[in-house]
Amino acid sequence: MPEIRKVLLVEDEEDIRKVAQISLQFRGNWAVAVAVNGEECLAMAASDPPDLILLDCMMPRMDGYEACRRLKQDPVLSHIPVIFLTAKTQESEIKKGLAVGAVGYLTKPFNPMNLVEDIMKVLEEHQKPD
C-alpha cells in the first residue's frame, strides 16, 4: 500500500475544511493542501501531486464527480487514490462516486478523531485482491 504523506483536501465549506484539515494533521501527521472546488483541485494536483485526494461531492464551479472523472483521464494523475467525503449515503450517490473511479467514500458528519483511521480502512479494503 502506498504510504500517505501528503493529502489534498477539497471542500467548499470553510469550517468543515478547517476541522478536516486539523484532523488529518493532528491524527495522521500528514501534510494537508486544501482546495475549494473541482477546478482548484485539478490545478493543485497537477502542480504538486499528493498521495491521496479527499473530495467533497457537491461544490460550486466544478463538483467532485467531474473533478474525479478528469483526474482519472490524466495519465500522470490517474494513479492517485480518491476518496469521496459526502453527506449523502444514498446508494445511487455511492455508485456514482465509484463509477468515476474513486476507491471508496466516507460520510459526513465524520468524527475527526477517527478520520485518518477510516481513510486507512478504505484504502486497505481497496487493496484486497478480490
Binding site: 469550517d15 468543515i16 484532523s23 458528519p109 468524527n111
Partner: protein
C-alpha cells in the same frame, strides 16, 4: 319528492362519494368521481376497489391515490382514515380522501369513501415540506463543524483539559448529537410526506433485521440497565422491505421501549406469523400510555410527560414507513402495565428458482 332521493342527491354531489361492501366491492360511485377517474359506473360496480387500477383509463394520473386506496383496503377498517393526495387531471390538484366504516341497517354495512378538493391545503403542505427540507440541509453543515470541533477538543487536540471543561464540552456534544438526530428525523418526515422517500425493496429476514437493531441499541440498553430478549416463532417467512428502513422502524420502537423501561426491566421483541403477515411486537414493562394520550401517540411531536430526550418524531416516521410498506402499526397499552407496539408486513413465499 322522488327527485330528492338520497341516491339522486349523492349522484350529483360535487364531491366524490363511493360506497363499498365489507369486502371493498364498489356498490355506488357518484358521477363527478367517475368523471375524475375517467370510468363509467358499469365498469366499476361490483368490482373490488383493488381492481380499480386495471379499470382506470387514467391510472398514471392517479397513482398516489391508487397507492393510498391499496394501503387502506389491505385490511378491515375500524376508524376513519383521512389522507390528502395529489392527482394530475391534467393540472396538479390535491384531493382529500376520507374512508370510514358505516352501518346503514342491521344487515347492510360496508365502507363509505368521500373525496373532496383540497388543493389549497395540499399546496401549503408541499411548501412546508420543501421549506423543512431546505432548512434541514442548511443546518447540517454548521452542525458538522460544531460536532467535529467538539470531538477534536475532547480528543486532546488542545492538550489536556480541566475536568470542568471536559464536562461542559461533553454536554455540548450530546446536545449537538441530539440536534443532528432531530434534523435527520425532520428531513425524513418531509421526505415521507412529500412522497419523495424511495424504498429499496428486497426480500428480508425480519429476525436478522431485528438482531441488528438490537445490537445498535446495546449501549443505550446497558446505560438504562435493561435487557432485550428475542422471542421468535418457528420458520418465519421473509417480507418484502427496505432493509435500512425496516431496521429504522424496529430501532425506533426499541429506543422508546428501553427509555421507558424501569431499571432491570426486560424488553421483548416477538416475531411471529399472524394471518399471512409477519408481526413484530416490541413489548416493554414501562409505565404504559395514559388512555387520553394513546390516540395521538403516533402524531408529530407528541411526547409523553417525562419523555426522555427523543425527537418526538420516531413514531410518526415509523408509522409512515410501515404504511409505505403496505403494513400496519398499532399499540396496546394498559396504563401502569407497559406497552406493546405491533406492526405487520405481508409475508412473501419462498424465493422462486
Amino acid at each position: 319528492m322522488e327527485k330528492y332521493s338520497a341516491e339522486s342527491i349523492l349522484r350529483a354531489a360535487p364531491l366524490g362519494v363511493m360506497m363499498t361492501d365489507l369486502d371493498w366491492r364498489v356498490c355506488f360511485a357518484s358521477q363527478p368521481l367517475l368523471d375524475t377517474l375517467g370510468i363509467t359506473s358499469e365498469v366499476i360496480l361490483g368490482e373490488p376497489l383493488l381492481n380499480l387500477p386495471n379499470k382506470l383509463g387514467r391510472a398514471d394520473q392517479c397513482k398516489e391515490l391508487i397507492s393510498v386506496l391499496t394501503q387502506i383496503t389491505g385490511h378491515p377498517l375500524s376508524q376513519v382514515i383521512t389522507k390528502v393526495v395529489p392527482v394530475h387531471v391534467p393540472e396538479k390538484k390535491f384531493i382529500r380522501v376520507s374512508v370510514s366504516p358505516y352501518k346503514a341497517s342491521d344487515t347492510a354495512s360496508g365502507y363509505l369513501l368521500l373525496f373532496g378538493d383540497s388543493t389549497a391545503e395540499g399546496e401549503i403542505d408541499e411548501m412546508k415540506n420543501e421549506f423543512i427540507s431546505v432548512a434541514s440541509h442548511e443546518m447540517r453543515t454548521p452542525m458538522t463543524s460544531i460536532k467535529g470541533s467538539l470531538e477534536l477538543l475532547l480528543g486532546g487536540y488542545a492538550g489536556e483539559l480541566p475536568a470542568e471543561m471536559t464536562e461542559l464540552l461533553g454536554i455540548c456534544l450530546t446536545a449537538v448529537d441530539r440536534l443532528i438526530r432531530l434534523i435527520n428525523d425532520m428531513l425524513d418526515v418531509a421526505k415521507i410526506e412529500s412522497g419523495k422517500m424511495q424504498l429499496h425493496m428486497d426480500r428480508i429476514h425480519v429476525v436478522d433485521c431485528a438482531k441488528r437493531s438490537i445490537r445498535s441499541m446495546k449501549s443505550l440498553a446497558e446505560a438504562n440497565h435493561v435487557s432485550i430478549l428475542v422471542d421468535e416463532g418457528e420458520s418465519i417467512p421473509q417480507v418484502r422491505a427496505d432493509r435500512d428502513r425496516l431496521e429504522q422502524i424496529i430501532t425506533n420502537l426499541l429506543a422508546n421501549a428501553v427509555k421507558y423501561s424501569p431499571a432491570e426491566g426486560i424488553v421483548t421483541v416477538r416475531i411471529h406469523l399472524a394471518d399471512g403477515s409477519v408481526r413484530i411486537s416490541v413489548i416493554d414493562q414501562g409505565q404504559g400510555i395514559p388512555p387520553d394520550q394513546i390516540g395521538k401517540i403516533f402524531d408529530r411531536f407528541q411526547q409523553l410527560e417525562g419523555a426522555k430526550k427523543g425527537t418526538g418524531l420516531g413514531l410518526t416516521i415509523s408509522r409512515a414507513l410501515v404504511e409505505q410498506h403496505h403494513g400496519r402499526i398499532w399499540v396496546e397499552s394498559a396504563f401502569g402495565k407497559g406497552s406493546k407496539f405491533h406492526f405487520e408486513l405481508p409475508a412473501v413465499g419462498p424465493a422462486q428458482g
